[in-house]
Amino acid sequence: MTRIRYALGACAFALLLWQGIVWVTGVPSFILPSPLRVAQAALDNRVLIAENALVTATEVILGLIIGTVLGAVTAIQLANSDRLHRLVMPLLIFTQAVPVFALAPILTLWFGYGIASKVVMAVLIIYFPVTSAFYDGLTRVPADILDMAKTMGGTKRQIMRRIKIPHALPSLGTGLKLAAVYAPIGAVIGEWVGASKGLGYLMLLANGRAKTDLMFASLFTLAIMTLLLHLAVIKASDYLRKS
């Protein structure tokens, strides 16, 4: 509880400081709106923000689910075959050198202006962290335990299912925590490049019309969404750790 109190205190202090700067410098609101003004804009546009937030949330959650499933399946295949790992891992690392941001226009071209291109963006951005975190967990089962499994006559498939995967679930949780923070970035970049819905689209729209207060309101909505997602994933991975 004290931690939450401290966090709230820090937020209140930041807001006061922000409000103070706006008052003292008299900066025009289209450059930097005061927190009060942003809150007012959020309230006035709540339906608009909610509609667009729902679109972004859908993209992020779909991206997270698809990316996690693909990443987990890849990690299991790589852990099953050294040769595959040697073959595929350099490729995966190379793809990490390509900035996903640069791919956004192409993805929009291929998958259209709808939600598909944003989901693909989110998937691409989280695929590697999920794969590599889970793979690490799968391949770091203590050798003693694997030796025991071998003397017991365990099959490769059962050893994967009964030992390696349960052992690697906490690592998967670590990858998911990263993914929860990255996935919204992917979705919003996708929306910036070309969309007619979503918080990223709303931010661009508001910015273009000098409605800086609405832009800030959208930005905070996105930040809060990301935080909530992160918290949900932490809860889920704690559960994985304990089970």
Partner: protein
């Protein structure tokens, strides 16, 4: 013995190990010539790094650094694969499984349906009847090692290789575990790697001191194991063995 264990009483084979172990063409030990008598306990001692655990892994058919020149044979002429169970110093319990599920791990890993009735009997035998549903994290060191023993027994293999399984336990728990292991592994061919002369003298039908040059048998007191730790003959044997171990170092 035999109660609750009537099923699958397999005649345990004697095992012969003859050969030399090399690591990067440097000799680790040997040429050794070692006989593990059928259905008896052989205790192997020797200073750290002499290759006691290597010897155990060799017999268990596990991958090793280096190369073994020689052969390992069973007296009945059959192979040793799938006839051996191993118990290590750490209990190797899977923390996410209950005591009961850990006990039936072998069957699970082979894709078989576990025999839970038999597992419950094993757990009763090692004194864990009331702790079957606990996770290893909630157990003491002795209880964890007893779970590992139950898991080893579930495998019902004629040969048991024990790599210092009691060394991390406190003195009284260790004494309890030694007695329990001797009782439940009766009739199996057992190889126990240990650092503790007292443990070797207490449990071994045969004691072998491993040095880089040879595997030397060491005389045991004239009574069958499990021996009284404080009988004069046992104490004398322990003292002589300890003195010898210090000398060869």
């Amino acid at each position: 013995m035999g109660h609750g264990h009537a099923r699958g009483v397999i005649q345990a084979p004697a095992i012969d190990v003859r050969g030399t172990q090399y690591i990067d063409s440097v000799r680790l030990f040997g040429r050794i010539d070692m006989h593990l008598p059928a259905g008896q306990w052989t205790c192997v001692l020797g200073r750290s790094g002499v290759g006691k655990s290597t010897l155990l892994r060799l017999i268990a058919g596990l991958t090793l650094a280096g190369e073994f020149e020689g052969d390992i044979t069973a007296s009945d002429g059959a192979g040793l694969a799938h006839r051996i169970s191993v118990m290590a110093q750490s209990d190797l319990l899977l923390p996410w499984l209950s005591v009961l599920e850990n006990t039936v791990l072998g069957a699970r890993l082979r894709g078989q349906t576990p025999d839970f009735d038999r597992a419950e009997n094993m757990l009763k035998r090692v004194g864990l009847a009331d702790d079957m549903w606990k996770k290893p994290g909630a157990l003491s060191g002795g209880m964890r090692q007893r779970t590992a023993l139950a898991r080893t027994l579930m495998e019902d293999r004629p040969v048991a290789l024990l790599d210092e399984p009691f060394s991390a336990l406190d003195a009284s728990t260790r004494a309890d575990m030694q007695e329990l292991a001797a009782e439940v592994l009766l009739g199996k061919t057992v190889l126990l790697v240990t650092h503790d002369p007292a443990e070797a003298v207490r449990l071994g039908h045969q004691i072998i001191v491993l040095t880089p040059d040879a595997a030397q048998p060491w005389p045991t007191p004239d009574m069958p194991p499990t021996r009284d730790q404080y009988a004069p003959a046992t104490v004398a044997c322990q003292a002589a063995l300890l003195a010898h171990l210090r000398e060869i170092r």
